[in-house]
Symmetry: C2
Subunit: 763 residues, 2 copies
Amino acid sequence: MVPTVWFIAPIGAIAALIFAFILFKSIKKQNPGNELMQKIALNVRKGAFAYLRQQYKGVLLFFIIAFVVFNFMAWVLNVLHPLIPWAFVIGGFFSGLAGFIGMNTATLASNRTAQAASESLNKGLKVAFRAGGVIGLVVVGLALFDLSTRFYILGLLEIDLKTITTIMLSSCMGASTQALFARLGGGIYTKAADVGADLVGKVETGIPEDDPRNPATIADNVGDNVGDVAGMGADLYESYVGSIMATAALGMAAVTQIFGLNSEWAIKFVTAPMVLAGVGALLSIIGIYLVSTKEDAGIKDLLRALNRGVFGSSILIAIVAFFVTRYMLPAPYSFGIFLAGIIGLLAGILIGHFTEHATSAAYAPTRGIAKQGQYGAATVIIDGLAVGMKSTAAPVIIIGIGILAAFSLSGGFTIPALGLYGIGFGAVGMLSTLGVTLAMDAFGPIADNAGGNAEMAKLSAEVRKSTDALDSVGNTTAATGKGFAIGSAALTAMALLAAYLEEVRSGLIFAGDKVMNILMANGEIFAVETSKATITDFMNYYNVNLMNPKFLIGVFVGAMVTFVFAALTMKAVGRAAGDMVAEVRRQFKEIPGIMDGKNEPDYARCVHISTVGAQREMVAPALLGILTPVVIGLLMGVAGVLGLLAGGLSTGFALAIMMNNAGGAWDNAKKYVETGQLGGKGSDVHKATVVGDTVGDPFKDTSGPSINILIKLMSMVSIVFAGLIVAYSPAIEAIYSSRSEKTEMQQVIEHDSTEIQTQENEL
Amino acid sequence: MVPTVWFIAPIGAIAALIFAFILFKSIKKQNPGNELMQKIALNVRKGAFAYLRQQYKGVLLFFIIAFVVFNFMAWVLNVLHPLIPWAFVIGGFFSGLAGFIGMNTATLASNRTAQAASESLNKGLKVAFRAGGVIGLVVVGLALFDLSTRFYILGLLEIDLKTITTIMLSSCMGASTQALFARLGGGIYTKAADVGADLVGKVETGIPEDDPRNPATIADNVGDNVGDVAGMGADLYESYVGSIMATAALGMAAVTQIFGLNSEWAIKFVTAPMVLAGVGALLSIIGIYLVSTKEDAGIKDLLRALNRGVFGSSILIAIVAFFVTRYMLPAPYSFGIFLAGIIGLLAGILIGHFTEHATSAAYAPTRGIAKQGQYGAATVIIDGLAVGMKSTAAPVIIIGIGILAAFSLSGGFTIPALGLYGIGFGAVGMLSTLGVTLAMDAFGPIADNAGGNAEMAKLSAEVRKSTDALDSVGNTTAATGKGFAIGSAALTAMALLAAYLEEVRSGLIFAGDKVMNILMANGEIFAVETSKATITDFMNYYNVNLMNPKFLIGVFVGAMVTFVFAALTMKAVGRAAGDMVAEVRRQFKEIPGIMDGKNEPDYARCVHISTVGAQREMVAPALLGILTPVVIGLLMGVAGVLGLLAGGLSTGFALAIMMNNAGGAWDNAKKYVETGQLGGKGSDVHKATVVGDTVGDPFKDTSGPSINILIKLMSMVSIVFAGLIVAYSPAIEAIYSSRSEKTEMQQVIEHDSTEIQTQENEL
């Protein structure tokens, strides 16, 4: 059934996994360093797995509940395809597996990177980047393996292609849920540990960062792993599978409209995004090896080499994508859709560039924040918020132009479904380099952890300098990474928004509504087969326009939910950090001999407190994100849900960028002062910028990244619950412009008005 | 032509003006206090008028440019009714006049209130509240006088009713522009002076607030007038005229759809909101007198008396509104539209209540912020932001329910235009009590200024205690006032959003497009006369739905512009305050004898610096607000503009509430600590909360309130430029669901696909 070229997807997946395994083996073979280094790494590793175990327990519980609910929806309410509960669970499993392998790699790499860095800077870079490569390739490999085997098996079961795409899209909610818990839990964990360690250790007790005497120091290092490695990985895993499957579903819609339901083109439109992803996976492997073959070079060369990896594979992907689209898609549009993919690639790079401009101390905005430190902490806060808010302009304009270009180039102004397919293709294009870009992202926290390991193991200042250099390379790549994460989240959410309508279609068909009666401008009813309805038909049927108050209220609620979600996550960090502060203070007081190194602090207890805190505090924001689309759906119907998603996406995109960039800029403003500028470390300016940095911590590491997930998750929840909403909220929302037949009400009015006029005339 | 009952509107206007004059006379007769008090008041008064003169110069320049541009649009481009430039100027003039009279009253009242308070608390309240009453009644009176005389004159000119409503709606942009400059300029001025006075005076030099030795102290007092009196007044003036005229335009649309263009009902639908406003004006006078008749009572009784004024007139308005709607509107819907008005009244009161909960130290959120002061400034900031973000929930839910209820009760789910008329009626209902609610709002800054006057004139501690008591009453009423301002802005903007389509209709007709060709679901074209097209027709014609990328991009840009606007206004305050800080430092250094009172500081120079700073800094945000709708309109057409307005409204509503409430909560958290809680004044907790308060200053007094204006102004600009957009951006945005006739492109694809399939079969 599938075209031969499709096999590039599973081949890419398996190749990615094989090379990930090879890289993993080569890391494991590295010198793990001296006994102390190994012991410290083991502590971090134990802490990370303790956290993961706890989180997976929570996730398991959630998945069991969801599985029961979904089966109820499938078998009792009859509003869900019976395979979806299983697909949901499997989707979640693979994302979780990727998280597990990623964490396993990252925690093995820290001491090995520190050891390698003590031998040569270049060796250190190599180990850290290879570990990042494992994570990148595992995410891409597992995701693509999951998607393609499932796609193949569903095909073998002789389920029709349309149903396959809707089942598979729903299953992405599994990955979405994993991502939510990973980002939220990881974000809360890492900041609780960080703030706890800093506030009591650095500020109150005056011991340096990563000092082994600080009870929270292991938890802090664990936090880097669970927040930055596992959280970021799960976030992009979700975007990756979400964008591919949303584009597949949109492809199906486009084909149906252009060629009819059973066209030969269908399988090509549906599989093209998978093929592009497969090509991306293969070329990412080359990209990673491009980087790792460089030997004995300076920091700048290494950074250039890293960039060469990304740009190299991007260019290669662009070239291959041209042939893939040309071969797979119909001629008049294949080039436009190819260009849409390229636009996605470019948008990701551009957003990364502007993110760096807003947050790096090399540019005016961040330096301006540092300068405001002369007037005190308040002006640092105000200026940082202003920088964050202003920095929303460039990404919104880039994404705006990207959407319009992708839509129009792929022919959306003639056939909207095709334009939406093009937008989806843009998202897939942006994410096709995920293998290598995620490798660069994960490189940062691994280098950071290596530094922590070196510090705690009291390696020489020389080694620490090397790991600091690696860390600074990591910080530069991280800016690109964050822009990439939010940009891909926006494009993916956009594709999911459109794909949602396909699930509504399935829901209608499932509920037995085989015909949609659309009231037209002339007052007549036009009956269209639900299976053949166009996207414009859905807009008309459900009145998804601005003058429908349900839609408008949805937009309002979407904006509001984003703000409330941000508030909840910030407060969560505050509470969890409070617990940690109390615990660290207690240990310093109750365990004698910590300060002179005679007694070891109780690291495990701090790890436990962060773990429990994160688990407890992520419940409220998670529930808000999951329940809002269901509640709005039941109360406001399809139009309300679409309003919610649009409002959440637009406000969430802006708010996430604002929080990420303000946080990053505050962090770097502080670091800028610490380089000796404006009075340097310990000056009043420095103290003012420390306040900024502390405010920025939950901004950039918890709330901002979690909003990335929120905007995708709300779409995913809507998609899974589409059947329920369609069946249980008023199907036809009758805002008519009735012309031919007057409504009863109108007749009553006219009757009354005649009466009143008669009365008036009589007076 | 007008129904007799309409004359309630001009009668209400004139009555309001007469009573304002009587109140004003009675204030002027009050004892102006001793010589020093008079001198100080005169300084403030001079400063206020110096500012106003400067601002009106700037506004005049803008009006001249706009007048030329509009005449060019009217006579050369032929996209604007030639009366609109004049209407625009007149609308601006009356708003400016209201600002002038308000400022005149407020600056006369400060020393008289201080003097009266030195005699008895009750006398002080009376003077301050009467001055507030003058401002409330002048705003309502002038607005209603302007609207009703213009309406009558245009009627005498035998212009048809439809054109009258569109001309009058456009003219509201005059008031909108005044409001923008008043809020922005006033907000920047007041905070620059405040921060300058506090930072150098209180913090660096250690002299108390309002100390005459502080060079910025007069500027600070001027700021309270220009920010809180003139800014708030212009804001609500704009909402008032905007909501009335938008509702009139929507009434015209509803009538056209139900009864046809020339129905007898038209004049009734159009004049009903004016009549309701007239009733409100008359009953507000009673409300104000209800308050002022209370004699020799305690603070609590006085607060109760104030509330009785508002609630009393609200209940009276509700009762009269029932009869007005019953008499003027067709029977089956009159009760629903009446209920819509009541819903607006209730929504305003409820939002005020929740605003108080979020920002008053009597409740948990604000106390929680103060408690976070134990961990330092950073946690105060994080907690305050979280409180602000969370506090968006209640107002959004209230407005959401309000919209849905107003829309459905007035029959919107049968005839959308009627539902939108209902929403407009809700806004008018909310604002019908403006005379008395604005009196309560203006009371606050007048009491504040009286306190400043007493302090500077070194009146006894006893007197200062009385003015402090008045100030605290003012703070309580201010919470209600702010909720009211943002709630009415949201409802007004919503009504303007719908009214925008009426201007598009006029624009189309003006451009000669007498017929709109709407492509229907069955692929046929339905031609509808533009003058008779329904709102749903416009949605279809311009594809104002979520799957149109132009609309979606508009939503994104709307969200982004709000953030950037907030950033610009915050930065503006920072820069203007920097100038002030430098000047105050210079005076302390260069003018000898300031500190021991031997030499007077140069107050006028500080006033000048604030004035110039405010004028300079308001240009960038003003241009952003005015140009964005025009640029988006030209690039993205009608769908893009509607997306922009929806995105700006939803994000702006949430962001404004967040900034207002976070700012208010920080302010009160600081004051809470100053009452002796958590260590009291001078403690570390206090210092931490002072940082919060300083961050909150531009939040609550500049950015937050300015966003109120932004969301209305963007609608107003869109309305005035509708003709241009319609004429110069692609009129028919062809996203079709073509069915009966296949497009050329589709035929090409099918041709190609057949070819490819043939080739494949051959292989």
